[in-house]
């Protein structure tokens, strides 16, 4: 699969993120600083399915979370559909930029269907009947139509993650960010979530996936990005990156993973 259009949907320029360095009240000196991201430039085009891979602590999750400002970048700019992702535009940007978390983060006090309907209703994206119909449709699509009225606690991890994906889709986003969506799952449930994500990729929605599932990256994505030491080290189609890794660190990483 190649990107079918060349409309730029995300533009990242000179993104850095430094943790620490804040002098807390009462502390003698500022915390030690840690540069997690050291200048990232990246363009994402509509329809891209991008996998971000790299060793633990390389900053790939931080990078993903910077994109929708769950982490505040230290410097640099992010443009989403031509709009600067800053404090003033953040709520509008997030409505079009879904996120799926490692630990699902479903709302435990609401039923599955209410989980899907909550944000569209509060933001009045559509009328109530349309939102309800869309929620039913999405639940059927993730194969959990029969679970509409149960609470998330009674579902397995794989089912919860599929609901979380449906919740992101209920907003009709242009991009979905996946932050290690299968890392918290029991091995036998990884498949069902990956399968759903694969189906999703075929619909042409733009996806950014932080993952350790090399098989998924190789099979589904059209770009694989290797991040290490806070920088993008390689950005290639999967065939190229997996069969012919250039960077020595990537070679070492892949030899450990595969």
């Amino acid at each position: 699969m190649t990107a079918n259009t060349h409309e730029k949907i995300l533009e990242v320029r000179g993104l850095t993120k430094t943790y620490g360095g804040v002098k807390k009240r009462g502390a003698k000196k500022a915390d030690p600083t840690l540069d997690v991201l050291k200048g990232i430039d990246l363009d994402i085009y509509r329809g891209d399915v991008v996998c971000l891979i790299g060793p633990s602590g390389c900053g790939k999750s931080t990078f993903l979370r910077c994109l929708n400002r769950l982490e505040i970048p230290t410097s640099g700019s992010i443009k989403f559909e031509g709009v600067e992702v800053d404090e003033a535009h953040i709520d509008a940007v997030r409505q079009k930029m879904g996120m799926v978390f490692q630990h699902f983060n479903l709302f435990p006090h609401l039923t599955v269907k209410k989980n899907l309907e909550l944000a569209p209703n509060l933001l009045k994206l559509k009328d109530k009947a349309a939102i309800s119909a869309r929620a039913d449709e999405l639940l059927a699509r993730v194969g959990l139509a029969d679970k509409a009225d149960v609470y998330p606690k009674s579902l397995s991890g794989g089912q919860q993650q599929r609901i979380a994906i449906a919740r992101a889709l209920a907003m009709d986003p242009d991009v979905i960010l996946f932050d290690e969506p299968t890392s918290a799952l029991d091995p036998e449930m990884v498949g069902e979530v990956l399968e759903l994500m694969k189906e999703l990729a075929h619909t042409g929605i733009t996806m950014l996936v932080v993952t350790h599932e090399m098989g998924f990256a190789r099979e589904v994505s059209n770009r694989v990005i290797f991040i290490d030491d806070g920088k993008i080290q390689e950005d290639e189609p999967p065939q190229e990156l997996f069969t012919n890794p250039k960077h020595p660190r990537l070679q070492a990483f892949l030899s450990k993973m595969l």
């Binding site: 807390k24 929708n68 505040i72 997030r94 409505q95 609470y151």
Partner: protein, 254 residues
């Protein structure tokens, strides 16, 4: 019964020593039945419940506001503190420090004899003081509940494009309330019993009624034991109601 009482009274006046049973009946009758004194206890219970309800409402409103201010203040990013919020946070901290750092009895006396020295409505002054006092404790309970909610819930709400306030109100607070309900129930019961303190400033609640009867009959045991029994029954009743309510709320979790 009235005739029996009159008979015993005459015996007592003539210097006869009453048997244990006669003595018991005489004092019991005097404490509860003579001159329809039980009505005084009933109206005392009414006032006690009213003061508790008012104080609880005030305490929960004050406590929620203080908790919200403090949590919102603490959750700001370092280096991006809002000065207005910082001011309110300081006010809230002074409030909880003073209220939790001084005895309730002293607070009651200050409110009735210094701040509202001209007011004769001691019951309402008492309810106000109890509410302000309770608010400081409730704020800490609610703050704990808000902070105990998984931070991922706030992230999930925000990542759907909801703003901070909306996420707080529809996602964080409902979960926090469920978590703190047992502690709030406990606070409610403490409050119910603490209403007896307003007797000292002249609030006309249950213990006040008992004291009035004690002063008239020179007999302390029955009024005091009666009052203790009434408090116990009230507390047991509310404990039972609260546990039922909790079980109702917990149903959605499974």
């Amino acid at each position: 019964m009235a005739a029996q009482y009159e008979l015993l009274k005459e015996l007592l006046n003539s210097g006869t020593k009453l048997s244990f049973g006669q003595d018991f009946f005489f004092k019991f009758y005097q404490a509860f039945i003579l001159k329809d004194r039980w009505l005084q206890y009933i109206s005392g219970v009414g006032t006690t419940l009213l003061v508790t309800a008012l104080a609880l409402a005030l305490g929960v409103v004050l406590g929620s506001m203080v908790a919200m201010v403090r949590v919102t203040h603490d959750q700001q990013r370092p280096g991006h503190k809002n000065p207005v919020l910082g001011f309110f946070n300081a006010v809230c901290q002074v409030y909880t420090t003073i209220i939790r750092g001084t005895p309730m009895m002293v607070q009651l006396l200050i409110m009735s004899m210094v701040i509202f020295a001209n007011s004769r409505n001691f019951t309402m002054v008492g309810a106000l003081t109890l509410g302000i006092n309770s608010g400081a404790y409730v704020s800490e309970i609610i703050r704990g509940g808000l902070m105990a909610v998984d931070p991922g819930q706030m992230e999930a709400g925000r990542s759907l494009g909801l703003n901070y306030m909306t996420t707080m109100v529809v996602i964080i607070i409902p979960q926090a309330i469920r978590a703190v309900l047992p502690a709030l129930g406990n606070e409610f019961i403490v409050l119910l019993k603490d209403t007896s303190l307003i007797t000292t400033i002249g609030g006309k609640e249950l213990l006040y009624a008992a004291q009035g009867i004690m002063n008239r009959t020179y007999e302390a045991m029955f009024p005091l034991l009666g009052v203790a029994g009434i408090y116990l029954i009230l507390v047991m009743l509310f404990t039972w109601l609260l546990s039922k309510f909790e079980r109702r709320l917990a149903q959605s979790d499974r």
